[in-house]
Symmetry: C2
Subunit: 180 residues, 2 copies
Protein backbone atom coordinates (compact mmCIF):
# COMPACT_ATOMS: atom_id res chain seq x y z
CA UNK A 1 0.00 0.00 0.00
CA UNK A 2 1.52 3.26 -1.05
CA UNK A 3 -1.07 5.95 -0.42
CA UNK A 4 -0.34 9.18 1.40
CA UNK A 5 -3.22 9.92 3.73
CA UNK A 6 -3.87 11.98 6.79
CA UNK A 7 -3.62 10.65 10.34
CA UNK A 8 -6.78 11.16 12.39
CA UNK A 9 -6.16 12.01 16.06
CA UNK A 10 -8.04 9.62 18.35
CA UNK A 11 -6.50 10.74 21.65
CA UNK A 12 -3.92 13.32 22.77
CA UNK A 13 -2.16 13.08 26.11
CA UNK A 14 0.12 15.87 27.36
CA UNK A 15 2.87 14.25 29.43
CA UNK A 16 5.23 17.18 30.02
CA UNK A 17 4.95 20.95 29.97
CA UNK A 18 8.34 22.62 30.28
CA UNK A 19 10.06 25.95 29.88
CA UNK A 20 11.15 25.41 26.28
CA UNK A 21 9.35 22.26 25.12
CA UNK A 22 6.26 20.25 25.92
CA UNK A 23 5.66 16.61 25.06
CA UNK A 24 2.42 14.88 24.05
CA UNK A 25 1.54 11.37 22.97
CA UNK A 26 -1.09 11.29 20.25
CA UNK A 27 -2.94 8.14 19.27
CA UNK A 28 -3.73 8.31 15.56
CA UNK A 29 -5.72 6.23 13.10
CA UNK A 30 -3.63 5.28 10.08
CA UNK A 31 -4.98 4.91 6.51
CA UNK A 32 -5.31 1.13 7.10
CA UNK A 33 -7.57 1.91 10.13
CA UNK A 34 -4.95 0.65 12.59
CA UNK A 35 -4.02 2.77 15.60
CA UNK A 36 -0.50 4.03 16.24
CA UNK A 37 1.13 6.30 18.85
CA UNK A 38 3.02 9.45 17.84
CA UNK A 39 5.45 11.01 20.32
CA UNK A 40 5.47 14.74 19.68
CA UNK A 41 7.68 17.51 21.06
CA UNK A 42 6.09 20.96 20.89
CA UNK A 43 8.40 23.96 20.53
CA UNK A 44 7.53 27.67 20.07
CA UNK A 45 9.69 27.99 16.94
CA UNK A 46 12.91 29.92 16.47
CA UNK A 47 14.78 32.28 14.20
CA UNK A 48 18.34 32.36 12.89
CA UNK A 49 20.23 35.22 11.27
CA UNK A 50 22.87 35.41 8.53
CA UNK A 51 25.08 38.34 9.54
CA UNK A 52 27.89 39.38 7.21
CA UNK A 53 29.74 42.11 9.11
CA UNK A 54 31.87 45.16 8.24
CA UNK A 55 34.88 42.89 7.59
CA UNK A 56 32.84 40.88 5.09
CA UNK A 57 32.97 37.96 7.54
CA UNK A 58 30.12 35.70 8.63
CA UNK A 59 29.44 36.01 12.37
CA UNK A 60 29.15 32.73 14.29
CA UNK A 61 28.36 31.97 17.92
CA UNK A 62 30.21 29.29 19.85
CA UNK A 63 28.23 27.82 22.71
CA UNK A 64 27.92 24.69 24.82
CA UNK A 65 24.91 22.54 23.98
CA UNK A 66 23.98 20.26 26.85
CA UNK A 67 21.77 18.03 24.65
CA UNK A 68 24.83 16.85 22.68
CA UNK A 69 27.40 17.48 25.44
CA UNK A 70 29.59 19.49 23.09
CA UNK A 71 30.29 22.98 21.76
CA UNK A 72 28.76 24.03 18.46
CA UNK A 73 29.42 26.85 16.01
CA UNK A 74 26.05 28.32 15.04
CA UNK A 75 24.68 31.43 13.41
CA UNK A 76 22.94 33.80 15.87
CA UNK A 77 19.57 32.29 16.77
CA UNK A 78 16.92 32.10 19.43
CA UNK A 79 13.43 31.04 20.44
CA UNK A 80 10.36 33.08 19.52
CA UNK A 81 8.83 34.55 22.69
CA UNK A 82 5.10 34.69 23.31
CA UNK A 83 3.34 37.19 20.97
CA UNK A 84 6.66 38.10 19.30
CA UNK A 85 6.91 38.04 15.50
CA UNK A 86 9.80 36.06 13.96
CA UNK A 87 11.12 39.34 12.50
CA UNK A 88 11.26 40.99 15.94
CA UNK A 89 12.81 37.87 17.48
CA UNK A 90 15.55 38.00 14.86
CA UNK A 91 16.36 41.68 15.54
CA UNK A 92 16.35 41.04 19.30
CA UNK A 93 18.49 37.90 19.25
CA UNK A 94 20.97 39.50 16.86
CA UNK A 95 21.45 42.40 19.28
CA UNK A 96 21.60 40.18 22.39
CA UNK A 97 24.03 37.60 21.03
CA UNK A 98 26.28 39.70 18.80
CA UNK A 99 25.69 43.36 19.68
CA UNK A 100 24.90 44.13 16.05
CA UNK A 101 21.81 46.07 15.05
CA UNK A 102 20.36 45.68 11.56
CA UNK A 103 18.40 48.40 9.76
CA UNK A 104 16.28 45.66 8.18
CA UNK A 105 16.08 41.91 7.64
CA UNK A 106 15.35 39.92 4.50
CA UNK A 107 13.60 36.57 4.87
CA UNK A 108 15.65 33.74 3.35
CA UNK A 109 13.70 30.53 4.12
CA UNK A 110 11.93 28.53 6.84
CA UNK A 111 12.27 24.83 7.66
CA UNK A 112 11.19 22.16 10.13
CA UNK A 113 14.20 20.84 12.05
CA UNK A 114 12.91 17.38 13.11
CA UNK A 115 9.42 16.79 11.68
CA UNK A 116 9.55 13.11 12.64
CA UNK A 117 9.04 14.01 16.31
CA UNK A 118 8.98 17.81 16.79
CA UNK A 119 7.04 20.78 15.40
CA UNK A 120 9.95 23.24 15.68
CA UNK A 121 10.15 25.61 12.71
CA UNK A 122 13.11 27.94 12.14
CA UNK A 123 12.81 31.15 10.14
CA UNK A 124 16.09 32.39 8.65
CA UNK A 125 16.71 36.07 7.98
CA UNK A 126 19.59 38.00 6.40
CA UNK A 127 20.68 41.10 8.36
CA UNK A 128 21.06 44.25 6.24
CA UNK A 129 23.14 47.42 6.90
CA UNK A 130 24.46 46.23 10.23
CA UNK A 131 26.05 48.43 12.89
CA UNK A 132 28.39 47.01 15.55
CA UNK A 133 27.47 47.49 19.22
CA UNK A 134 27.67 45.83 22.60
CA UNK A 135 26.24 42.31 23.06
CA UNK A 136 23.66 41.94 25.84
CA UNK A 137 23.36 38.19 26.50
CA UNK A 138 20.51 36.81 28.63
CA UNK A 139 21.34 35.83 32.19
CA UNK A 140 22.71 32.28 32.06
CA UNK A 141 23.72 32.58 28.41
CA UNK A 142 27.44 32.08 27.83
CA UNK A 143 28.47 32.50 24.25
CA UNK A 144 31.56 33.52 22.30
CA UNK A 145 31.34 35.48 19.04
CA UNK A 146 33.60 34.52 16.16
CA UNK A 147 33.85 35.65 12.53
CA UNK A 148 35.22 33.98 9.42
CA UNK A 149 35.38 34.70 5.67
CA UNK A 150 32.76 32.68 3.76
CA UNK A 151 35.43 30.43 2.14
CA UNK A 152 36.56 29.40 5.63
CA UNK A 153 32.96 28.80 6.71
CA UNK A 154 32.42 26.49 3.71
CA UNK A 155 35.61 24.64 4.58
CA UNK A 156 34.40 24.25 8.20
CA UNK A 157 31.12 22.75 6.94
CA UNK A 158 32.95 20.42 4.56
CA UNK A 159 35.28 19.24 7.35
CA UNK A 160 32.34 18.62 9.70
CA UNK A 161 33.41 21.39 12.10
CA UNK A 162 30.11 23.22 11.64
CA UNK A 163 27.46 20.57 12.27
CA UNK A 164 24.37 22.44 13.37
CA UNK A 165 21.59 21.84 10.81
CA UNK A 166 20.09 25.35 10.88
CA UNK A 167 23.56 26.87 10.42
CA UNK A 168 24.55 24.61 7.52
CA UNK A 169 21.13 25.03 5.86
CA UNK A 170 21.07 28.81 6.26
CA UNK A 171 24.61 29.31 4.94
CA UNK A 172 24.20 27.00 1.94
CA UNK A 173 20.79 28.52 1.09
CA UNK A 174 22.31 32.01 1.37
CA UNK A 175 25.07 31.07 -1.08
CA UNK A 176 22.69 29.20 -3.43
CA UNK A 177 19.78 31.64 -3.57
CA UNK A 178 20.93 35.00 -2.35
CA UNK A 179 24.54 35.71 -3.23
CA UNK A 180 24.17 34.55 -6.84
Amino acid sequence: MNLVENEKTIKSEKIYEGKVISVKIDTVELPDKKYCKREIVEHPGAVAVILVNENNNLVLIKQYRKAIEDYLLEIPAGKIELKESPYDTALRELKEETGYTASSLTKLLSFYTSPGFANEIIHVFIAKDVIKGEATPDIGEFVEMLEFPMETVLQLIKEGKIKDAKTVTAILAYLQFYEK
Copy 2:
Protein backbone atom coordinates in the same frame (compact mmCIF):
# COMPACT_ATOMS: atom_id res chain seq x y z
CA MET B 1 30.49 37.75 30.80
CA ASN B 2 31.30 36.17 27.50
CA LEU B 3 33.17 32.95 28.28
CA VAL B 4 32.26 29.62 26.75
CA GLU B 5 32.41 26.99 29.44
CA ASN B 6 31.08 23.53 30.04
CA GLU B 7 27.88 22.81 31.94
CA LYS B 8 28.32 20.43 34.89
CA THR B 9 25.43 17.99 35.40
CA ILE B 10 24.11 18.18 38.98
CA LYS B 11 21.03 15.97 38.54
CA SER B 12 19.41 14.05 35.68
CA GLU B 13 15.77 12.98 35.78
CA LYS B 14 14.27 10.73 33.09
CA ILE B 15 10.63 11.74 32.66
CA TYR B 16 9.61 9.76 29.59
CA GLU B 17 10.89 6.67 27.80
CA GLY B 18 9.12 6.13 24.49
CA LYS B 19 9.35 4.15 21.28
CA VAL B 20 11.28 6.80 19.34
CA ILE B 21 12.31 9.42 21.88
CA SER B 22 12.97 9.73 25.59
CA VAL B 23 12.95 12.93 27.62
CA LYS B 24 15.12 13.94 30.56
CA ILE B 25 15.46 17.07 32.65
CA ASP B 26 19.06 17.81 33.59
CA THR B 27 19.99 20.33 36.26
CA VAL B 28 23.31 21.91 35.31
CA GLU B 29 25.74 24.31 36.95
CA LEU B 30 26.53 27.27 34.67
CA PRO B 31 29.89 29.05 34.49
CA ASP B 32 28.56 31.69 36.95
CA LYS B 33 27.82 28.81 39.44
CA LYS B 34 24.07 29.28 39.09
CA TYR B 35 21.85 26.26 38.45
CA CYS B 36 19.67 25.90 35.38
CA LYS B 37 17.38 23.17 34.00
CA ARG B 38 17.92 21.72 30.53
CA GLU B 39 15.05 19.85 28.85
CA ILE B 40 16.59 17.20 26.63
CA VAL B 41 15.03 14.88 24.04
CA GLU B 42 17.08 11.76 23.38
CA HIS B 43 16.84 10.20 19.92
CA PRO B 44 18.75 7.21 18.45
CA GLY B 45 19.92 9.21 15.41
CA ALA B 46 18.93 8.80 11.79
CA VAL B 47 20.20 8.64 8.24
CA ALA B 48 19.09 10.27 5.00
CA VAL B 49 20.02 9.39 1.45
CA ILE B 50 20.57 11.40 -1.73
CA LEU B 51 19.35 9.15 -4.55
CA VAL B 52 19.73 10.34 -8.14
CA ASN B 53 17.99 7.67 -10.21
CA GLU B 54 18.26 6.28 -13.77
CA ASN B 55 16.31 9.30 -15.10
CA ASN B 56 18.85 11.65 -13.48
CA ASN B 57 16.08 12.75 -11.08
CA LEU B 58 16.30 13.17 -7.32
CA VAL B 59 13.97 10.78 -5.49
CA LEU B 60 11.74 12.33 -2.80
CA ILE B 61 9.27 10.80 -0.38
CA LYS B 62 5.96 12.48 0.39
CA GLN B 63 4.55 11.59 3.79
CA TYR B 64 2.26 12.90 6.47
CA ARG B 65 4.07 14.21 9.56
CA LYS B 66 1.80 14.26 12.59
CA ALA B 67 4.13 16.58 14.55
CA ILE B 68 3.49 19.43 12.10
CA GLU B 69 0.04 18.21 10.90
CA ASP B 70 1.11 18.45 7.28
CA TYR B 71 2.69 16.55 4.39
CA LEU B 72 6.37 17.00 3.69
CA LEU B 73 8.64 16.22 0.76
CA GLU B 74 11.76 14.58 2.15
CA ILE B 75 14.70 12.56 0.90
CA PRO B 76 14.53 8.88 1.95
CA ALA B 77 15.43 8.64 5.64
CA GLY B 78 14.95 6.65 8.79
CA LYS B 79 15.95 5.97 12.37
CA ILE B 80 19.02 3.96 13.26
CA GLU B 81 17.94 0.67 14.87
CA LEU B 82 19.72 -0.82 17.88
CA LYS B 83 23.23 -2.10 16.97
CA GLU B 84 22.80 -1.01 13.33
CA SER B 85 25.51 1.11 11.66
CA PRO B 86 24.40 4.33 9.91
CA TYR B 87 25.65 2.83 6.62
CA ASP B 88 23.44 -0.26 7.01
CA THR B 89 20.47 1.88 8.08
CA ALA B 90 20.87 3.94 4.91
CA LEU B 91 20.91 0.85 2.65
CA ARG B 92 17.90 -0.61 4.48
CA GLU B 93 15.78 2.55 4.48
CA LEU B 94 16.58 3.22 0.82
CA LYS B 95 15.28 -0.24 -0.11
CA GLU B 96 12.22 -0.04 2.18
CA GLU B 97 11.09 3.43 1.16
CA THR B 98 12.03 3.55 -2.52
CA GLY B 99 12.76 -0.02 -3.63
CA TYR B 100 16.18 1.05 -4.89
CA THR B 101 19.31 -0.87 -3.94
CA ALA B 102 22.69 0.86 -4.02
CA SER B 103 25.98 -0.92 -4.70
CA SER B 104 27.63 1.49 -2.27
CA LEU B 105 27.10 4.73 -0.37
CA THR B 106 29.35 7.77 -0.03
CA LYS B 107 29.16 9.76 3.20
CA LEU B 108 28.30 13.41 2.55
CA LEU B 109 27.95 15.03 6.00
CA SER B 110 26.37 14.70 9.46
CA PHE B 111 24.52 17.33 11.46
CA TYR B 112 22.52 17.88 14.64
CA THR B 113 18.92 18.80 13.83
CA SER B 114 17.90 20.64 17.04
CA PRO B 115 20.87 20.86 19.41
CA GLY B 116 19.03 23.36 21.63
CA PHE B 117 16.81 20.57 22.99
CA ALA B 118 17.58 17.26 21.23
CA ASN B 119 20.60 15.05 20.59
CA GLU B 120 19.38 13.75 17.22
CA ILE B 121 22.16 13.46 14.65
CA ILE B 122 21.51 12.73 10.97
CA HIS B 123 24.10 11.13 8.71
CA VAL B 124 23.64 11.84 5.01
CA PHE B 125 24.84 9.41 2.34
CA ILE B 126 24.87 9.51 -1.46
CA ALA B 127 23.61 6.31 -3.12
CA LYS B 128 25.88 4.98 -5.91
CA ASP B 129 25.06 2.70 -8.88
CA VAL B 130 21.42 2.28 -7.93
CA ILE B 131 19.09 -0.43 -9.26
CA LYS B 132 15.30 0.00 -9.22
CA GLY B 133 13.21 -2.58 -7.35
CA GLU B 134 10.06 -2.97 -5.28
CA ALA B 135 9.56 -0.78 -2.18
CA THR B 136 8.89 -2.68 1.07
CA PRO B 137 7.52 -0.10 3.52
CA ASP B 138 7.18 -0.91 7.23
CA ILE B 139 3.73 -1.75 8.52
CA GLY B 140 2.02 1.54 9.30
CA GLU B 141 4.26 3.50 6.94
CA PHE B 142 2.34 5.27 4.16
CA VAL B 143 4.56 7.10 1.74
CA GLU B 144 4.51 8.16 -1.88
CA MET B 145 7.64 8.25 -4.03
CA LEU B 146 8.23 11.17 -6.37
CA GLU B 147 11.15 12.23 -8.57
CA PHE B 148 12.21 15.58 -9.96
CA PRO B 149 15.13 17.03 -11.93
CA MET B 150 17.56 18.91 -9.67
CA GLU B 151 16.57 22.33 -11.10
CA THR B 152 12.97 21.64 -10.06
CA VAL B 153 14.12 20.54 -6.60
CA LEU B 154 16.05 23.81 -6.16
CA GLN B 155 12.97 25.75 -7.24
CA LEU B 156 10.84 23.82 -4.71
CA ILE B 157 13.31 24.75 -1.95
CA LYS B 158 13.35 28.39 -3.04
CA GLU B 159 9.53 28.54 -3.07
CA GLY B 160 9.31 26.96 0.38
CA LYS B 161 7.66 23.77 -0.91
CA ILE B 162 10.49 21.63 0.41
CA LYS B 163 10.83 22.66 4.05
CA ASP B 164 12.36 19.70 5.84
CA ALA B 165 15.76 20.74 7.24
CA LYS B 166 17.60 17.45 6.56
CA THR B 167 16.32 17.47 2.97
CA VAL B 168 17.30 21.08 2.27
CA THR B 169 20.68 20.63 3.97
CA ALA B 170 21.49 17.38 2.18
CA ILE B 171 20.54 18.68 -1.27
CA LEU B 172 22.39 21.99 -0.92
CA ALA B 173 25.47 20.25 0.52
CA TYR B 174 25.37 17.74 -2.34
CA LEU B 175 25.31 20.56 -4.90
CA GLN B 176 27.94 22.61 -3.05
CA PHE B 177 30.48 19.92 -2.20
CA TYR B 178 29.83 16.90 -4.35
CA GLU B 179 28.58 17.86 -7.80
CA LYS B 180 31.19 20.56 -8.32
